[in-house]
């Protein structure tokens, strides 16, 4: 199917250095609409729901705020809600989001030993928005990639 101009522009804005340094696609060679379609299928197979996952991530970010920028144990997870100066626009241009970075990892692994994407999730307000509104988990290799299997393993 032909991409709509809005989607096409959004996909262009995901390239490195336009909105963020690394961009949203990592080393993923698939086009963003393929990434979205394949993640939607993965979510279905794992029995995950985009809204539920987004709610859960939001809840963790909120609980992590009690650590005031430092990591804090929430249940069996270690959550760090950090904040940076400034805001980021969504590639689909439907909102501005604080440039925070929340990291979630298993509480029994030391933070330095965790690897992004393998046993640690990193996300921001923008990631939650893109997950909820656009079903977009970002490309493989992006530090903010929300890998469906990892979401399932850590959150539920």
């Amino acid at each position: 199917m032909k991409q709509s101009p809005a989607d096409k522009q959004a996909f262009e804005r995901m390239a490195p250095g336009i909105i963020t340094a690394a961009g949203f696609l990592g080393f993923d060679e698939r086009s963003p609409d393929r990434i979205i379609a394949e993640d939607e299928r993965a979510f279905e197979e794992l029995g995950l729901d985009f809204n539920n996952v987004a709610d859960r991530l939001e809840e963790l970010a909120h609980k992590g705020e009690a650590g005031l920028g430092e990591p804090i144990t929430v249940g069996e997870l270690l959550v760090q809600s950090g904040d940076a100066r400034g805001m980021l626009p969504c590639p689909w241009e439907d909102g501005f989001f604080h440039k925070n970075a929340v990291s979630v990892s298993p509480a029994d692994t030391p933070l330095e030993a965790c690897v992004e994407g393998e046993d640690m999730l990193i996300y921001s307000e923008l990631s939650i928005h893109m997950l909820r509104a656009h079903h977009f988990c970002q490309g493989r290799g992006s530090p903010f990639r929300l890998e469906p299997t990892l979401l399932k393993q850590l959150l539920f």
């Binding site: 250095g17 920028g69 804090i72 904040d83 440039k99 903010f144």
Partner: protein, 373 residues
């Protein structure tokens, strides 16, 4: 003329005429001529070429309005009051504007184009802001994700007040094609006018922090713009209740060592609350303890929120807000000099601390903070 040539020549002719009209139109339309920017009611007048955004036009005249994103309209830092009419607020500006700011015609200077004579208002301190050429003298890891970077000025001296920040100019690197700027509080002493020290925490995916952590080497040339900011010690006898974690330490390091060195505000007692999760995440602890030992009015309260048993942590435990609450209620002497709050950190941390301070009788106008947002 050969009939075969008529077609191509006509098409070429029409294209050429259209291209000519467009070129002439471009010359006529995008030539705004010389325009005048009048700052603070004529206090300073600049003759500039029109057609560019206000932010970059002012920067070309060596007036640096603070901007964390370098003019892309994503940080909302470069606000400035525009008195003359430059049209309605653009959709790119509105997310950053409060209704009050819209009513007073506060604009983002990176989004407003200078098309005719305009009148603006700027804080006078911006006139003393300069761009400094420096090189990296030393980089040190203070925790697993915070680096202490010392920049040496190549020429000139920087005059600043402890608590202010500078903008780090990040050149294009890797896949990033444009230069950007990010703001960091200075942790060095104002008395050392030849150096600037910054504490930079790695933000995943951050353009500037990734550059500092993964690319920057000792000896590299770097540009800094500054100083900016209103965060500073207030001249009262009230005790300072300072709270910061992580890289929020930077302005306080500068403030403490400056007060110690200059013995300024001798009536002020200083309490510094520093929270981390485990002792591995603590830094500068030795230095600060040493400072406490030789400087009676400085009190360090370091607290761990989740110390493991094998660390043998003898200090306070719990979230820094709970520790702060306990100290305000039972430890810190209440006298008629009163208390002042000084905070640096994420908005969540600042809001939580403001609540604790208000509960303990520090009014909001006596709480000063530097939000990272």
């Amino acid at each position: 003329m050969s009939p075969i040539l008529v077609g191509p020549l006509t098409v070429a002719g029409i294209s050429a005429v259209l291209a000519l009209i467009i070129a002439v139109l471009d010359k006529a339309l995008n030539n705004y001529g010389d325009v005048e920017i009048s700052i603070n009611g004529g206090e300073r007048k600049l003759e500039v070429k029109g057609g560019s955004p206000l932010l970059s036009t002012l920067a070309a005249e060596n007036i640096f309005v603070p901007s964390a994103c370098g003019g892309r309209g994503t940080c909302g830092a470069c606000k400035c009051k525009v008195i003359s009419d430059v049209g309605p607020h653009l959709p790119t500006e509105l997310p950053f504007m409060s209704p009050d700011e819209i009513a007073h015609n506060v604009r983002l200077s990176c989004q407003v184009k200078v098309r005719k004579n305009i009148e603006i208002e700027l804080p006078r301190e911006l006139f003393s802001i300069k761009k400094y050429k420096t090189h990296v003298e030393k980089i040190r890891d203070v925790t697993h994700d915070i680096k202490e970077v010392l920049f040496a000025l190549d020429s000139g001296e920087i005059d600043f007040v402890s608590g202010q920040y500078v903008q780090l100019v990040v050149p294009p690197y890797g896949d990033i094609k444009e230069s950007t700027q990010r703001a960091y509080s200075m942790s060095s002493k104002p008395s050392d006018k030849k150096h600037v020290e910054l504490l930079i925490r790695l933000v995943p995916g951050g353009i500037a922090t990734t550059w500092v952590h993964k690319f920057l080497k000792e000896g590299d040339a770097v540009e800094l713009v500054g100083p900016f900011g209103e965060f500073r010690v207030h001249d009262t006898p009230a005790a300072m209740i300072c709270v910061a974690g992580g890289s929020g330490m930077a302005p306080f390091k500068s403030i403490f060592y400056n007060l110690y060195e200059t013995s300024a505000f001798p009536e002020k007692d200083i309490w510094y609350f520093f929270g981390a999760r485990t002792s591995k995440d603590m830094f500068y602890l030795e230095e600060l303890r040493e400072l406490q030992a030789k400087w009676p009015r400085f009190h360090l309260v370091a607290a761990l929120s989740e110390p493991s048993p094998e660390e043998n942590w003898a200090g306070d435990t719990g979230l820094i807000t709970d520790v702060l609450d306990r100290y305000l209620q039972t430890v810190i002497p209440k006298n008629d000099k009163g208390w002042e709050g000084y905070l640096c950190g994420s908005p969540g941390m600042i809001n939580a601390c403001i609540n604790v301070m208000k509960k303990n009788g520090i009014t909001e106008d006596k709480i000063y903070y530097d939000k990272f947002a």
